[in-house]
């Protein structure tokens, strides 16, 4: 018994010794090490031929030209198009990761298309004489926008609503020697990066900002005023009120205001942004020619704003947020809806916008899946026409809001983009810049088909510059009088530099503290909350859970709120808030 046990042990010992003299153990440690190079879960990038394709970015109206490095037909890297007369090769951080937009985690995958159509038809039938069918277009000025206006025009009580009405006025940064900005993020997502950077050396930037925004920190001069007191300062500079009055409201010294006023005297031409009180020097603002459209499109609903509608009058509301622009607070919209079950349909890529309130949320394709034109940028002195042509194919089940709304309104449309392009070609104005060869040629030397081809393969039509005028440019959020009285401790400042849900943007707001993350509120470090902690954000309109970011650039008594719809819905103009530990 004992003996056999010993034999077994010796056999084992023997094989242990023996195996050391075979390749087995050494090969096994090598192989396990090699396995750790490509163990499960580590994707292998697709191989294939490298192509270059061109398009225009339609994330915002800057519509920067994009050069896409593609493997097979899959875009893997986006960059600007050098030599482009408008975007000048620049691309903003969001544009750089634009091709990841289809992969936002919260993307709408499907929606009740049939039911929505039926509900709309029902709503149209039920629509009384004093009731309206409304299309709210968050990004006006597109060809699709024209289709909406035509569709609403085709209905007897259709209305077309857009957040910003005046689309034809543009600024000419190259003409300004001083830019006076009331809370407008001039250097950070307001205009076309290429244009702003090219002009930057030419003007002195004076930023009026309640917090140290990225623009404020890069401005030549930054005046920190009390939140929502920008317009008071503007009034003082316009001479409507005395510097003393302004001083109390803004928290600036009288001397400072006087000095600023003088600076503007000498610093002309002055371009004023974000104020309804001050007018820019003639020359810094231009009235662009309208990008031509087919004549028959003209008989369509005018562009109006929400205020023009009486309360409780909207029976059917169709919202196109497929290309998000300015966001209208929901409470303002809800006030306009009829009392007995109105029909609200939104066309959205993400459930985080109006989809939270609509009866039907229909999924749409996003950049760079879908073909659509980008309205001219605010700082482009000439009208433009550029098409964001798709780089990838959209997932199935996506709805095209343009044709959906047209059909709902009984309007028959063809290929509207092509019709628009032909109309532009007929005008024979301006020039066409082709991305592939970097050449620019007059439109009149081009055949319609070539023009159309260029537009889709990466090209841009640029009109002749518009006439110089003067205007009050109140875009951004020029502070309106508070809509409510509230004794909450914090004044609200909305950060327009918010990142969308593109996964890789975590680099700039979670893996570093460069930008304010969506759903976050920035507070002064002395606020008593921990950096990165969760808290309850509360205004008179309600409360929401937010993340807290501590930023010494935010003065005490101020909360800088990321412009996510859920938070914007809580922030009426001039509203105050409190942030408490959750």
């Amino acid at each position: 018994m004992n003996a056999t046990r010993r034999q077994v042990l010796m056999f084992a010992g023997g094989s242990a010794v023996g195996v050391m003299f075979t390749p087995a153990p050494w090969r096994l440690i090598t192989d396990t090490a090699l396995w750790s190079e490509n163990w499960p879960g580590i994707p292998a990038p697709p191989r294939g031929e490298i192509h270059t394709r061109f398009t225009n970015c339609s994330i915002c109206t800057a519509g920067c030209a994009v050069r896409a490095r593609c493997v097979g037909d899959q875009p893997v890297e986006l960059a600007g198009v050098a030599g482009h007369p408008i975007s000048r090769g620049a691309l903003c951080p969001f544009g750089i990761v634009g091709h990841h937009l289809p992969y936002i985690p919260a993307r709408l995958k499907e929606g009740p298309v049939g039911q929505a159509a039926a509900a709309i038809a029902g709503g149209l039938a039920k629509c009384g004489p004093a009731e309206f069918v409304v299309t709210l277009d968050l990004q006006p000025g597109r060809t699709a926008s024209w289709t909406y206006r035509r569709a609403m025009g085709a209905l007897k009580n259709g209305r077309y609503i857009a957040p910003s009405v005046d689309a034809q006025v543009a600024v000419d940064l190259s003409k300004a020697r001083t830019v006076l900005s009331f809370g407008v993020p001039v250097l950070d997502g307001w205009g076309t990066p290429g244009i702003v950077n090219a002009a930057r050396a030419g003007f002195r930037l004076i930023q009026i900002d309640a917090v140290e925004s990225r623009t404020a920190s890069m401005a030549d001069r930054w005046f920190r005023v009390r939140p929502n007191s920008e317009e008071v300062l503007a009034a003082a500079l316009a001479g409507r009120i005395s510097p003393a009055q302004a001083a109390d409201a803004t928290g600036l010294a009288v001397a400072e205001i006087a000095a600023l006023a003088q600076e503007l005297e000498q610093g002309g031409p002055v371009l004023v942004l974000g104020s309804s009180q001050l007018e820019s020097t003639v020359g810094t603002v231009v009235a662009r020619h309208e990008t031509p459209v087919p004549g028959e499109w003209k008989k369509s609903a005018p562009v109006t704003d929400l205020a023009s509608l009486p309360d409780r009058s909207v029976r059917v509301l169709l919202i196109d947020e497929s290309m998000p622009g300015g966001y209208l607070q929901w409470s303002a919209i809800a006030r306009k809806l009829v009392a007995d079950n109105p029909v609200v349909v939104t066309f959205a890529a993400s459930p985080e916008g109006y989809a939270r309130h609509a009866n039907y949320a229909l999924p749409v394709a996003v950049y760079p899946e879908v073909s659509g034109d980008v309205p001219p940028a605010i700082d482009s002195v000439a009208s433009t026409f550029r098409i964001a042509s798709p780089l990838v194919s959209p997932p199935s089940g996506m709805v095209n809001p343009e044709s959906f709304i047209a059909t709902a309104a009984g309007l028959s449309t063809g290929d509207t983009l092509r019709e628009r392009a032909d109309a532009i070609h007929k005008s024979a104005r301006g020039a066409v810049f082709t991305y592939a060869d970097g050449q620019s040629q007059p439109l009149k030397d081009m055949k319609p088909d070539d023009f159309w081809k260029v537009l889709n393969a990466g090209g841009c039509w640029i009109d002749e510059p518009g006439a110089q005028t003067a205007a009050k440019l109140t875009f951004g959020t020029a502070a309106r009088p508070p809509e409510e009285e509230s004794d909450l401790p914090l004044a609200i400042v909305v950060a327009r530099e918010t990142a969308s849900g593109i996964p890789l943007l975590s680099k700039v707001y979670r893996e570093s503290n460069l930008r304010l993350a969506p759903g976050y509120v920035a507070l002064n470090p002395a606020c008593g909350l921990e950096d990165g902690s969760q808290a309850i954000f509360e205004t008179l309109l309600g409360k929401a859970t937010v993340g807290v970011t501590l930023d010494s650039g935010i003065p005490p008594g101020v909360a800088q709120v990321s412009a996510t719809p859920a938070l914007l819905d809580l922030c009426a103009a001039g509203a105050r808030a409190k942030v408490v530990r959750s």
Partner: protein, 188 residues
């Protein structure tokens, strides 16, 4: 000491040696047949003389690697000859226009950045130097893949050559050329 008591010990040693040298080297690989029984030899004679005729370079200098079906259908739109291999190729791939899923014997690990242009065009190396006699083979030997690391058997030893395609083999040649600078020369 060398008494009967050490017999089990020696038995153990022998068993281990046998297993390690005979069984293990076979067991470690998994075999996978190529989709079509392709003869490089015949094609070298009949179709194109040079490897580059099928294993082409793209305009940008990158290497296309294994040819796609359209290369074949240039001649094989209809059966050429009556071999069963020919028939199955036509039936399974040409007629339904399906890409044959070739497996590359010489597929390098993902983190290797190998430039055929640099070796073939700049250094004027012959394909055989690394790929051995594959070009003159009459049949496609089954593709053998390491069960654990998932790398091709040729990486360890390429038939028809005295070497494999391990890093050591690359380094050895680069060192002779005095062209060995840093890891990222060849790794990505």
């Amino acid at each position: 000491m060398m008494s009967g008591r050490s017999i089990p010990f020696l038995a153990g040693v022998t068993a281990a040696l046998a297993a390690g040298w005979l069984a293990f080297p076979r067991a470690i690989y998994r075999s996978q047949p190529e989709p079509v029984n392709f003869s490089h030899k015949i094609h070298a004679d009949k179709a194109g003389a040079k490897c580059e005729d099928c294993h082409t370079f793209r305009d940008d200098g990158s290497f296309a690697g294994l040819p796609a079906l359209d290369k074949c259908t240039g001649c094989h739109s209809a059966p050429m000859g009556t071999t069963s291999a020919e028939k199955s190729f036509i039936d399974n791939y040409v007629t339904p226009n399906r890409q044959p899923q070739w497996v590359s014997y010489a597929r390098q690990p993902e983190n290797v950045s190998f430039s055929h242009a640099a070796h073939v065009k700049r250094a004027k190396m012959a394909c055989e130097t690394c790929h051995g006699n594959t070009g003159s083979s009459d049949t496609l030997r089954p593709f053998q893949i390491d069960r654990i690391s998932g790398y091709s058997r040729d990486i360890w030893k390429t038939p028809g050559t005295s070497h494999g395609m391990k890093m050591a083999d690359c380094v050895e040649c680069h060192r002779r050329q005095g062209l060995e600078h840093s890891c990222l020369d060849c790794h990505k």
